[in-house]
């Protein structure tokens, strides 16, 4: 204990870490009515951390080459001690992250937390969501299974429907006319270096935005105040609120534990939940397996493309929807945040959620 104090003293005298700790963590006050949905950010940080750790471990044995990728993953799951665990944690963890991301985004939408000059927070968060999707997509190819190969073929086919530059865009994504060793190379570089770096940077920006502008209080209860913002920048403070450390951190930690329990529960008791049979066959460019489906979180997009008469229209609808979502804080500018006072928005919210689920289920069974 004494040694620890000495070390902290040493650092503190040079960097003033105690002051930083007191101001930024102990003195970081959250609204008194903050609810459980506010823990999802911490959950996502923890899960991304786990992905980075397991990802580094997998890199020790993974071989990013079309001839050896599948065999190297087989070796990881069958020969390397606990390789099966690391691999499953990484693959299932990606799915749990998508669940947490969706919950985080839905809670922000429902509580209209993007309001009050928080456009940058929303945009950086939306960017993070898309980066996570891109990480999922690129990571999907790396095991070089039949599922990897054909799901990627299907996914990289989409940009081909764009007029004029479609073919070029598709070939650029694939690094060739079809998915092959070239695609594996570029997806590997994206998945392992480029996208994680971008993700870390954007996480930093997102956290900075959250802290700089001040956390948006839940729009419930008698504490709710509709804010008139002055012309200049304001930092929203919550005087008399709950200290982030240690009062709220323990709740963050508790919810992180529950999410990890969910992850381990799937890993040990339903390891096949996210793996169709084609995930266990090596990629074969000459044999398309029957009923190849994208992952559950891309099913909505897959099915929208099938609903519309032309792929271009389907793509346009998807693009329009995602753009609308990205620009929501610029379009929905009223100060009112209470769900009860925003019947139209809440109706659209639940209808949209219902449509998303319905289209995904339809896509799964079609």
């Amino acid at each position: 204990m004494r040694v620890l104090t000495l070390i902290v003293d040493f650092v503190d005298r040079r960097l003033g870490v105690r002051e930083l700790f007191d101001k930024e963590l102990r003195g970081y006050l959250l609204p008194r009515n903050v609810n459980v949905w506010y823990t999802l950010g911490a959950v996502l940080l923890a899960l991304f951390g786990l992905q980075i750790l397991t990802g580094i471990l997998l890199l020790i044995h993974y071989v990013p080459h079309a001839d050896q990728a599948f065999a190297s993953v087989q070796r990881i799951t069958n020969e390397v001690p606990f390789g099966w665990l690391v691999r499953l944690l990484h693959a299932v963890g990606a799915n749990v992250i998508v669940i947490a991301l969706l919950l985080h985004m839905l809670s922000v939408l429902f509580m209209a937390s993007y309001k009050g000059r928080r456009e940058f927070t929303w945009l950086s968060g939306f960017g993070l969501f898309n980066l996570a999707m891109a990480l999922c997509l690129t990571g999907y190819l790396l095991p070089w299974s039949q599922l990897s190969f054909w799901a990627t073929t299907v996914a990289t086919e989409a940009p081909g429907a764009i007029p004029v530059v479609g073919d070029l865009a598709r070939e650029f994504l694939r690094g060739g006319a079809t998915v092959g060793g070239q695609t594996l190379g570029r997806f590997f570089a994206l998945h392992v270096v480029a996208l994680p770096l971008a993700l870390l940077g954007l996480i930093g920006l997102h956290l900075f935005c959250v802290k700089r502008r001040g956390i948006s209080p839940p729009p419930f209860g008698s504490d709710y105040r509709s804010q008139e913002l002055p012309a200049a920048f304001v930092h929203e403070e919550h005087r008399g609120g709950i200290p982030f450390f240690p009062n709220y951190v323990v709740k963050d930690a508790a919810v992180i534990c529950f999410f990890l329990a969910l992850l381990l529960g799937i890993v040990f008791f339903a390891p096949n939940l996210f793996f169709p049979p084609a995930a266990f066959e090596p990629a074969d460019p000459f044999v398309t397996p029957p009923r190849i489906k994208p992952e559950w979180y891309f099913l909505w997009a897959y099915q929208t493309l099938k609903i519309f008469p032309s792929e271009l229209i389907g793509l346009g609808v998807q693009g329009a929807f995602m753009t609308l979502l990205a620009l929501l804080p610029f379009l929905d500018r009223g100060p009112e945040r209470r769900p009860a006072k925003r019947p139209i928005f809440v109706t659209v919210f639940f209808l949209g959620l219902l449509v998303f689920v319905a289209i995904s289920v339809w896509g799964h069974y079609s």
């Binding site: 471990l57 020790i60 390397v80 001690p81 606990f82 390789g83 665990l85 690391v86």
Partner: protein, 145 residues
């Protein structure tokens, strides 16, 4: 699990934090062990055992089949005194190849894959050559592996 609520919160908290620390230590141990095993250097015991075959069993122009690390293998004497050993498992679907004395080739009875005495694919569906096993002449024995 709930501590008596008439205790002051800070007392309850001390108890709960000790409990949490214990659980956390258990979990850290449970996470640390797989990590350590994952990173531990690969062990090289057992699996590397060589197999001995008497030279007399491998007459010139004939093939001698034997078990090598749990899989069928075959030894040949191509020229007098010159031995080779191959895995006898066809690379197509795992059938055991047969030696054709008349043609001096291996033939897989399942789908007609043919291999040269050196293991190379001559015809048929096999995707790869037969695996070559290292052979050392050791007195009147052949040591394989």
């Amino acid at each position: 699990m709930d501590a008596p609520s008439n205790l002051p919160p800070s007392r309850r908290r001390t108890f709960l934090l000790i409990l949490a620390g214990g659980l956390g230590a258990l979990l850290a141990g449970a996470a640390g062990w797989p990590l350590l095993r994952f990173l531990a250097p690969a062990s090289r015991g057992g699996a590397e055992q060589a197999v001995s075959v008497p030279r007399a069993a491998v007459a010139a122009g004939t093939a001698h089949f034997f078990q090598y690390r749990g899989k069928p293998a075959v030894a040949l004497q191509l020229q007098p005194g010159e031995y080779t050993a191959l895995s006898a498992v066809c690379t197509h679907l795992g059938c055991v190849v047969q030696w054709q004395e008349a043609t001096g080739e291996f033939l897989c009875p399942c789908h007609g894959g043919r291999f040269s005495p050196a293991g190379a694919v001559l015809a048929g569906p096999p995707p790869r050559a037969l695996e070559i096993l290292p052979v050392v002449v050791d007195g009147d024995q052949l040591r394989i592996g």
